[in-house]
Symmetry: C2
Subunit: 201 residues, 2 copies
């Protein structure tokens, strides 16, 4: 990787870091793009070469898409064969980004803190989940052999993203066993869905 590419990643991280830090310090509307850029030793115009909006710098713009490998395993009906359980697996691996879950825990905590404190970020976050939903729907459709853009796949994927959303709200960050806690919450959520909408019990 050349110097150019490395520097770009550096300024991107600097901008994102400055944005997060200043926002947590003062609140989003007391921070201007100019200040963020100054903090990252960059002109204000350059900020917009990296992020379209101030909010994007905070939430991040990683596509939130699962690993290619995990995706294919899921589509093929794996890894366990149980739909909900495999969904848990796929979602947990997707949300962490390409690498390890633990490695991104600090960022996840920050994101949660930001979303709690700055309501203006909620729409941005919801849109991001919405984009991810599309991909999940096609994965579910492929796994079940449904035609593309199938209504059922979309609905099932939407419910799954809703589960993710509420689970992330409830995760007890700070613990060390939080990955397993996430799994548990997801499993319970899917069970709840089954009970609520399933055949009359």
């Amino acid at each position: 990787m050349g110097l150019r590419e490395r520097k770009k990643q550096a300024t991107r991280r600097a901008l994102q870091g400055a944005a997060v830090r200043l926002t947590l310090e003062r609140g989003l509307e007391k921070v201007t793009v100019e200040e963020i850029a100054a903090e990252a030793d960059v002109s204000a115009r350059t900020f917009f070469n990296y992020f379209a909006t101030k909010e994007d710098a905070l939430i991040g713009d990683a596509p939130l898409t699962p690993d290619e490998a995990d995706h294919e395993v899921f589509v093929a009906g794996g890894p366990t064969g149980d739909f909900a359980e495999d969904l848990v697996h796929l979602l947990v691996n997707s949300l962490a980004g390409p690498g390890d879950l633990a490695a991104h825990r600090a960022e996840a905590v920050q994101r949660k803190e930001l979303l709690d404190r700055e309501p203006q970020l909620l729409p941005v976050f919801l849109s991001r989940l919405h984009s991810a939903e599309q991909g999940l729907a096609t994965a579910i459709g492929q796994r079940s052999g449904a035609p593309e853009d199938d209504f059922r796949s979309e609905v099932v994927a939407g419910a799954a993203m809703s589960v993710i959303r509420h689970t992330l709200k409830r995760v007890p960050y700070g613990d060390e066993a939080d990955i397993e806690a996430v799994r548990d919450l997801l499993r319970r959520a899917f069970v709840n869905l089954g009970e609520a909408y399933g055949p009359t019990d």
Copy 2:
């Protein structure tokens, strides 16, 4: 209702109408607030006395909350006793606003057209659904006797809102029988959820 109140509603409608019309004509980013205000025979400053943002004027700011009566019937376990069916009833009545569904069909068609053509409106719309979700969760919690802010209620409500979202996307507007079509789609969606997440079949 006094003259003052009537005038306010009139300018509100005028602003909203102008915003929708101009946006459908030229696209959202080719329309300025000044133009909308001028079209409604009102100063630009007045626009912001009614709507906080240009987008709000398009999506509307009705709280999207169900009738008090429908809400209580649902909480009490009615009208049919079947959870999914009662949810369909509640949602259909909520989405229409206080009055008749048919009366608001034109607006619904417009909203859909806008959402299709102007992606910037999607976050606004998603936030609106998100707000409505909170109320739905407490209603579901009360009906099932769960404690407040129960995880299960939230997840079930989230899934329901997701169902709404995808159903609205698929509704065949233009037909005359579209209210019944909405009900059908909702019912099918809930059945799909039950099949997907319910006990292994």
